[in-house]
Structures are given as C-alpha cells and as structure tokens.
Amino acid sequence: MTTVTAPPAAVETLAPRVRPRRSFGPASIIKYLLAIFFLIVVLMPLYVLIVTSFKAGSDIGVTSQWNLPTHWTTASWGKAWTALRPSFIRTFELAIPVAIISSLIGAANGFVLSRWRFPGADFVFTLILFGMFIPYQAVMIPLREIVTTVGIPPGIPTLVFVHCVYGIPICTLIFRNYYATTVPEELVEAARVDGAGLLRTFTRIILPISIPGFVVTVIWQFTSAWNDYLFAIFLANTRNGPITIALNALAGAQSPDYAASMAGALITSLPTLIVYVLLGRWFIGGLMAGSVKS
C-alpha cells in the first residue's frame, strides 16, 4: 500500500534507474523545452524578490518590476535586517528545540507502535494520526486559555510547547514507518530474548540506527515551526513572536517599503532554503514521509 509514508530511504527510489538516453529525438527536445520553460516560470517570483531587494527610490515601481536595478544598493537589506533581527533570533530559539524534542518523542512513539506493539496499537495509531489533519482553529480558542492557565510563559516557550504537541502525529508517523521498514523484527526479538528491556533496547540498539529518521523529522519540524504563522499570530505578538509575524508587519503596513519587504522575505526564507539545499535529498525524503505510507 502506498498511502501515508515511505521511509526516508525513499530518497533513493527517486534516483533514475534508466540512464538518460543519448539520442535527441523530437520528443526529447520537446521534453527539455518544457522542463526549461517550467524552470523559468518557477524561478520568476525569486527573480522579482532578488532584483527588487537591491533597488532604491524611483527604481521601485510596479511598471519597472522586471527591470534590473539601475543602482544596486543593499540599503533595503540593512533596513529589513534591523526590523527582523530580534524575531530572527527568536525563531531559532523556537525551531531548534521543537525539532529536537519532537524528534525524540516521535522516535520513542514510532518504536513502540512498530516494534514493541500492544493490543490495539493500530487503532491508537489512527487516533494519533488524526491530530495531524485537524484545522488548528478548532482547538485555538481553548488553547489560548489553557496555556495561560497552566502558566507557560507567553511567546516562544508557549509556541515551543504547542509545536511539540501538535508535531507528535507526524513525527510518530515518520518513525513508525521508518522502523517498520528498516529495523528487522528479529533484531528486537533477539534483544528481548537476551533479557533487554524496552528502554535498553531502544537506547542501545534502536537509537544508534535511527539517524536517517532523525534527519527527516528534524528538517520537517524545523521547517514547519520556522514557517508557521497561524499559531504565532494566535499565541504571540510582534514583540515576542517568530519572524513570520515580524515579516507580515513589515510587508503588510499601510504604505509598505517594497524593497525592504522583498529583502525581508528573502531573509525570512534563507534558513529553510539553506537547510533545504544542503539536506535536499533528505528533505525530499521528509516530504515523502509526510505523504506516502508503504
């Protein structure tokens, strides 16, 4: 069945099995032309972002949007950085703990649900999974109340907590499918026969071979915490919130500074883009993990 996850190893399945053919028939020319055409279309917004961010004054206008800057300047980058810097740092304080904590929880849960199963494990897993699909508006009203009552400090600590909780389903899913496909049942059985308990088996045998799973959940959770706007706007503000709020304030003002907005959008996207370019292979694996279950 191919439905909600391929293991991170799915990356490898993306590699072509067939070497590209050397011949260039009309069909393959059309194929390349189309591929290049779509490449340009996909890159168009990025082009506008970059050129606008280096413009100043009268260069910035609707009609000259596609032109290169007549005078290149980094002034807008400076302005955007000044506006975004505090929240930029705060967002790291949000996304890094979320990525680490969620992954550890996911690993433990995934292990139990795939290799240390109990009666009704599949049903429980389905109940967990449902949490991944809910529109968060349906929990938002009491959520705000409950985090205040419990006494979690507002801003980043609250968001860390919330992202960890609502990240449980996806991380559990990724690890469950990772273990189910890469860790042989016999390995766990052998440990059990040797008298190793659950924790010992998990920490000594399972965790050391879980790196590929961790790479996927870390990237996934880092990206979703970094890019989140919904929880941020409900549970934080421009003074204590992450960068998406700050960027929207910068870009959504009454008469926004377009060049600074574009520079700000690039600054905001840089960390996730770097993660994506450096770890792209696994990132793709993560995407598959969020969607294709095998």
Binding site: M1, M44, Q65, V112, I128, P135, A138, S269, I284, V292
Partner: protein
C-alpha cells in the same frame, strides 16, 4: 499478567503523548464544540446553552451571507488548487520520469518553493498579481503585455467572481513540486519488469502509460489529494499575506480569526467546528481505509 509485562512498558513510554493528544486534540475539540453551543458572544462569558443556534445563524442568518460566501471562496480555491497542483505535479514528474540530464537540478528548483513560507512568498505574489493593466501594468500583467498576450491580463484576486481562482496560483506554485516528488517516487516504484512485459506484448507508449503505469499511481494520487485537500481547507497564511483579511477573499479559517478579534467566541467556535467537520468527512474514511489495507497485508 505475563503478556502485560510484555507490552506494558511500551504503552507506558507512549502514554505521555497519548495524554497530551487526548487533552490537546480531542479534549480541546470537545471544549470548542461546547463553546459553539453556548451564547458566549463577548468577553463577558457565557450565560447558557443555545443548542445549534450558532450553526443555524451561520447558514441562514449571517450578514450578507458572509459564511456561505466564505465557503464558496473556499470551494473555488480548493478546486483550482487541487487541479493545478495535481496537473503540474504529474506533468513535471512525467518530464523527469525517464531520466533527463540535470534531473537533480530540475527537481531541486521545482521543489524549492516548498521550503518557503506562505508569508514570505505572499510578499512577492502580491506584486506579481498586481491588477493594473495596459501601460501601468506590472507583475504578470506586464509579462503578458510584453508577450502581446494582453487578453490574458487579469485583475487577479480583486475580481469579485473568480478572484479566488487567482488566489490559488501561489499555492499551486508552492505545492506542485511536492506533488511531483510524490509521483516521481510512484513512477520509480513501478517494477521495471512490468514495463518490459508491456513492451514485449507490443504495447504502444500511450497504452503503456494508460493501462499499465497510471493505474499503478492511483494510491499516490489519492494520498496527494488528501494532503493537498486538507491543506486547502486550512488555508490561512497565504490569504492573510496576499490580500489581508477582507470580504473579497475571505475563507472560513480567516473568518474564525476575524470573529475572534470581536470576542464572539461562540460564533468563532461554530465556524471552526464546521471546518473540522469538512476535513473529517474526507480524512476519517481515508484513515479507516488506510488502517484496513495495512491490516489485510
């Protein structure tokens, strides 16, 4: 007792997560449902239980049919988004599927918008979808003007009838690469022997894809639709970033936020629960089906 010793520790390790989800998913949904059945229309709190009145009001008694209008917007957005992302995703996967020089590069570029937040991409799409035409045109309209395709110029999301279709464009841009990755994995999961066997039988390329390959991709297509569909229902960031909260582009997720700002908790809760039901109608059967297929293996 021995069996409990066997699986007990596992359940124990899982229990913190189960408790958290029981409280923060199921408990809070129940809480929201309760609020939606009350008359908590301001910050002063609730005076009592009003049954389904808040729901009834949404459908029959909302100012200017605001709620049904937001549902209509959501429907248009979802249709265009799903069809668009599935079409380009499949097309791109098809282009790369048999191997193409520089495939890794193409794949990376097609997929990169996925790493960007809707808030950040909204900044540039707001510009690209500038409604001015003719000599004042900017963004996409300027491109169409430059290519002498003026008839393609549009007022984009500011169009009161079909604006939401344009609003789906950035979402298509962002998620098509994702669908491509899914389909690419699907294509490559098809055993080579199957293709060879079809070729041996003298099947044309068209018939090979039509009768052998595409049927194998049905499960991938289904999961892609589920992922995109539930994302679409929840769409909030993109619209907040491109148009901001306003009547023209309002969808239920934005409506909830706007209603909360007026402290009408009961109404906001009712809208959220309708949204949840819409998602659940699709997701619950899917989860049950997935669970069953897994068991039957």
């Amino acid at each position: 007792m021995r069996r409990l010793r066997h699986w007990g520790p596992g359940l124990l390790l899982l229990s913190p997560s189960l408790i958290l989800l029981a409280v923060f998913v199921y408990g809070l949904i129940a809480w929201t449902t309760k609020v939606s059945l009350s008359d908590e229309h301001n910050a002063l709190g609730s005076k009592g239980f009003v049954g389904l009145e808040n729901y009834q009001n949404l459908f029959t008694n909302d100012i200017q049919d605001r709620f049904t209008h937001s549902l209509k917007n959501l429907l248009i957005f979802t249709l265009v988004f799903l069809v668009g992302a599935m079409f380009f995703g499949l097309l791109w996967a098809f282009l790369l599927e048999r191997g193409i020089r520089g495939e890794g590069f193409f794949r990376t570029v097609y997929l990169f918008p996925m790493a960007v937040s809707f808030i950040a991409s909204g900044v540039v799409w707001r510009w690209l979808m500038n409604p001015l035409k003719g000599d004042d045109a900017g963004g996409l309209n300027a491109v169409f003007g430059g290519l002498h395709l003026d008839f393609l110029q549009s007022t984009w999301w500011t169009n009161p009838d079909w604006g939401m279709a344009s609003m789906a464009m950035p979402a298509v841009w962002q998620l098509s690469g994702y669908v491509m990755a899914l389909f690419l994995a699907g294509f490559r999961g098809i055993p080579q022997e199957l293709r060879e066997a079809a070729a041996m039988d003298g099947a044309s390329t068209y018939r090979l894809y039509r009768n052998v390959i595409f049927p194998q991709l049905t499960p991938v297509a289904l999961s892609a639709l589920i992922i995109l569909g539930h994302m679409s229902m929840k769409m909030f960031d993109l619209i907040m970033s491109i148009s901001g909260p306003q009547w023209l582009t309002e969808v239920p997720a934005v409506y909830v936020w706007q209603t909360l700002l007026t402290s009408d908790y009961a109404k906001a809760a009712a809208i959220s629960i309708v949204l949840l039901l819409l998602v659940a109608i699709v997701i619950v059967p899917y989860l049950i089906y997935t669970n069953r297929v897994e068991k039957s293996r």
